[in-house]
Every structure is written in C-alpha cells, then in structure tokens.
C-alpha cells in the first residue's frame, strides 16, 4: 500500500517484480532510490556496481497504482469476496487513464456514476502487532491502517508480534482483537521486529535510520553493501536486533501512557 524503506530494501534485493501501491517514499525524509531506479528509465539503464542483484540488471518494475482509499477498497473487496468496491475518488484525474483497472460503475438508483476498484487477494499478508496468543488471536492498538482488511483478504496470514501472551489476556479484552487466529497461519515472536519503524507503546521510529537511508538509497553500491551487512551476512532477525545494540534500542523506548481499564462484566 505505502512502500517505504522495507520495500526499497526488498526491491533492491530483487524480491519483487511488480508494485501495487498508493504512495511511495521515505516518510518525512525523501525518496526511495532502489524503487526509483527500477521505474525511471534514465536511472534504470545504469547498471549497478554489484552482481546479480544490482538494479541495472533487473527488469523494469511493473507498477499498478491507486489512491489510499482505492487500496483500502481493494483489500475490503478482497476480504468480503465482492467483485468490486465503489468509491467516489478518481473523477477528473489521470489515474483511471494510468490504470485501466479503475473503472466506472453506474448506480442502480439512477443517481450517477462512481468509480470501482477490483478486489485484491494477497498470497500472503504479514502483519506486525503488539501481541498475539499461540492460536494467532492478535491484538493491536494505535494505528490500525488497513491491516484487518489485508489479513482477511489474504490466502495466508503471518503475524509478527512483540510479545506472545496467554489466551486469557486476549479474551479479557475481545474488542482489541483485530485478527482472529482462525485466519492466521503463523505467529512469529520477534521483539523489535518492526524496526526501523515503530510499535505503539513499545518503541519509537528509529529516525536516524530513516535519515541515514536517504544517502544509502541514492547509491546502489551503498545499498547493496547495506544489504550484505544487515541482511545477507546475518543469521536471522535476532542477529539484526543484536547488531543494532541494546543502547540504540533502549533509546527508542517511549514513556508510559496507560489506557486505563474497562469492565466487561461477568454474566453467568
């Protein structure tokens, strides 16, 4: 939906053929070089300094582009098994010309036309959350984005959590459950798994990383070196977190802002 640093990394590593999105960038900082190099002909013709995964050797990135609400509508239609989702966006813009999957649909009440977007059904949706139980029942607070819709729309769902909790913790507050274990295929317990991004209540965005990325992403060699150092040469995510160092991570911890409790009542 909103490709940022992690997409830039995956695309630099050659993991993607096509991007379906509504906004791309390094939020609050700048652009994403690996993605731009695979979209802009002037830069994508330049071979990268590195071997097989250098940008210059990779095919142009296919692009299928919507607005935010369009992407939300696509996931919603995917989750609800609807053939389309109607929204009032796109009139008098060039987006329907750029993307022929954005189509008009007539209201059956004779009051005009709206635009439609088609359902999106990801092969896999990966959601990061504060906590889940072993059955995959997942709770999130703070921004929810479009994670529920993207999970329900997907063929498979992987939940990455800061903390594995007892089922009783989940069942004590069922209104916080965003994704039921019913649709979850795997729960991965990986503290700091959202780094360099943040998790509400757990840690802040590592803004130094975002700022540093701006220089790295402009230079294909630097990007490939970063991938070697921080991805390929490390034995999994735990090693990545260890390499970041305890001090850096501790500096990302927010102060406390407790929610308060409510009472569901015991009815027996």
């Amino acid at each position: 939906m909103t490709p940022d640093l992690i997409y830039d990394q995956m695309i630099a590593a050659g993991c993607a053929r096509k991007l379906i999105f509504s906004w791309l960038g390094n939020p609050g900082v700048g652009g994403l070089g690996a993605i731009r190099r695979r979209i802009e002909p002037a830069t994508s013709d330049v071979p990268g300094p590195d071997g097989a995964v250098a940008a210059g050797r990779l095919a142009r990135l296919e692009v299928e582009e919507y607005s935010h609400f369009g992407m939300v509508g696509r996931y919603t239609a995917g989750a609800a098994k609807l053939p389309f989702y109607p929204i009032r966006s796109y009139f008098e813009t060039d987006l329907p010309k750029a993307n022929p999957l954005i189509r008009e649909v007539q209201s059956p009440y004779g009051d005009g036309v709206v635009y439609a977007v088609p359902p999106l059904r990801p092969d896999v949706t990966i959601v990061h959350a504060q906590r889940a139980d072993a059955a995959g029942n997942t709770q999130i607070w703070g921004l929810l984005g479009c994670q529920k819709e993207a999970a329900f729309a997907a063929e498979r769902v992987i939940v990455v959590v800061e903390e594995l909790v007892d089922e009783a913790v989940i069942r004590a507050d069922p209104n916080r459950t965003i994704i039921p274990g019913l649709i979850v295929d795997a729960v991965v317990v990986e503290p700091f798994g959202a780094h360099p991004s943040y998790v509400q209540g757990a840690y802040d965005r590592d803004n130094a990383f975002y700022l540093d990325w701006d220089a790295i992403t402009r230079d294909e060699a630097a990007l490939q070196a970063w991938l070697r150092e921080w991805v390929f040469d490390l034995d999994g995510r735990a090693a990545y977190v260890e390499k970041l160092g305890a001090e850096r991570l501790a500096g990302l911890r927010p102060g406390s802002a407790p929610s308060g409790e409510v009472d569901y009542g015991s009815y027996s």
Binding site: K81, L82, E149, R171, P174, T177, L182, Y267, S268
Partner: protein, 259 residues
C-alpha cells in the same frame, strides 16, 4: 421429569447438537439454534468457534445467551467486531463452516420461510424476517436447520422464500451456486422434534433417523408432501444423562426452550 425421561424438545436439541461433532466454525441463529449450539460446545464440539451475528467470534458464553446479542457472548470471547465486519469478512468472506438456522416453514428442498404466513402485503402472520438468515444460507459452507415439525411448518410450498435452500432441486441449486459464486453448498441436515433428515443427491430431504417412540406415520402426518425415508431407518440414540443435565441445570433451567 426423571433423568431417563425426556421431552421431544430435549431430544431435538440433543440430536441437533450432536450433528455439530467435527465442525469448526458455526454461525449461531436466533432461538433453537442458540441452545443446540451451546449444548454442542459443552459436549461433542468443545473446540467449536461460535459466531454471533451481532459481532462476536469465538464466544464462550458462561450461560445460555438469552438472545444472540447477550453480553455473556462477549465476555471471554476471542474477538468482537462490528456487524459490518462480521457479515463482510467472516460470513461473505467464506469463513463459516456451518450456519445453524431455525425456520417457520421449510419445503422438501430445504428452502426456508421466516418472513410471512400468507400474502406478503397482507399477511396472516407476520414472522421476524430474514435477519442474517438469507445471507447465512448462501455463504456458510453448510446449513443446519432445527425446527419443530408439523403440517404447518413442513409444507409443499412455502409462502415466502426468505433463505435459499436447494431451490427447485440439486441440479438447479448447483448450477446457480456455481454461476453466482456462492460459497455454500446449501442445507445438509434438518433436525426436528420427530426425526433427523438429510438431503438426497437430487436435493430433496430424506428421513434418516426417527427419534425414540416416533413412527414413520407420525412423520407423514406432519409433512405437507409425501416424505422420503431412508431404506433402513435408524433410531436416534436417546439423550444421555449428561446431555439432559446440561440442558436442565446449565442451559435452560427455566425450561423456556425444552419443556
């Protein structure tokens, strides 16, 4: 009533609950399905995930819910969602294995009426309406029905088709389900106070098991068409002492459903 004696309603609820053995996710309809599913959760299907249309997934009601919007279905549940999300993502999204419905009228193909007796615009009896039934009927993988059986309820022609069953037969039903992309295969069992019915390959229901003390003539007398029976009719096993205890002590101590 002694533990060995039991009412027709108790037999019906027990038989319906047993049909849920091995099922995973059940959408619980209002009325009789509510007690049958809650009994199943306590007996043959402890891992059954109860879904209530008011917006609950994975309910663990500490008592029999008084309605399908009872607060006891929320406390201790896995998840609460808006009705929008429940109907969109869980039901229409195809996550429901069994939809458990009641009915006022049913025909031989399992089509259901819960709207009106008589003409729609000038009804003899105004019934509750669809609620979520018409969408459960086409989106749940299978539909189970529980209802009392009588000449007024098992009819040759239902007065209003609220919820689609096997339509005019299996051939039509399968074609339309395929064409329309319905996720459900339609009705698979009807449990009444007299018998257990399943569906033949041509989509018509067939008596498979008579409850203790019920004869095939009792069934004929309460069906508005010439009913089909399995070549060998089973007798439904009587309720166990534990099943009766659960109904009488935990689920329906006032006997609202079962007396």
């Amino acid at each position: 009533m002694s533990a060995s004696a039991f009412s027709k309603n108790e037999m019906m609820i027990v038989a319906a609950a047993r049909e849920l053995a091995g099922q995973r996710v059940c959408f619980v309809g209002v009325g009789l399905p509510n007690i049958a599913v809650n009994l199943a959760k306590r007996t043959v299907a402890p891992d059954l995930e109860l879904v209530y249309e008011a917006g609950v997934f994975g309910a663990r009601p500490a008592r029999l819910p008084l309605s399908i919007g009872d607060p006891t279905i929320v406390t201790g549940a896995t998840a609460v969602t808006s009705m929008y999300e429940l109907f969109s993502f869980y039901l229409q999204g195809g996550l429901i294995d069994v939809g458990f419905l009641g009915a006022a009228q049913i025909d031989r193909f399992g089509n259901i009426n819960t709207t009106v007796i008589g003409e729609y615009d000038s009804p003899k009896t105004r019934l509750p309406g669809s609620g979520g039934a018409c969408e459960i009927a086409i989106n749940a993988r299978q539909v189970f029905v529980i209802m009392r059986q009588s000449a007024r309820s098992f009819v040759d022609r239902i007065d209003f088709r609220t919820s689609a069953g096997n339509l005019g037969g299996a051939e039509q039903s399968e074609r339309i389900r395929r064409e329309q992309g319905w996720l459900g295969r339609g009705p698979s069992v009807v449990v009444t106070d007299l018998a257990i019915w399943h569906f033949d390959d041509d989509g018509e229901m067939r008596v498979d098991s008579l409850h203790p003390g019920v004869t095939i003539d009792d069934v004929r007398a309460t069906v508005g068409w010439e009913p089909r029976a399995a070549p060998v009719l089973a007798t439904t096993p009587v309720p166990s002492a534990e099943e009766l205890r659960l109904i009488r002590e935990e689920l329906d101590p006032g006997g609202a459903y079962t007396s």
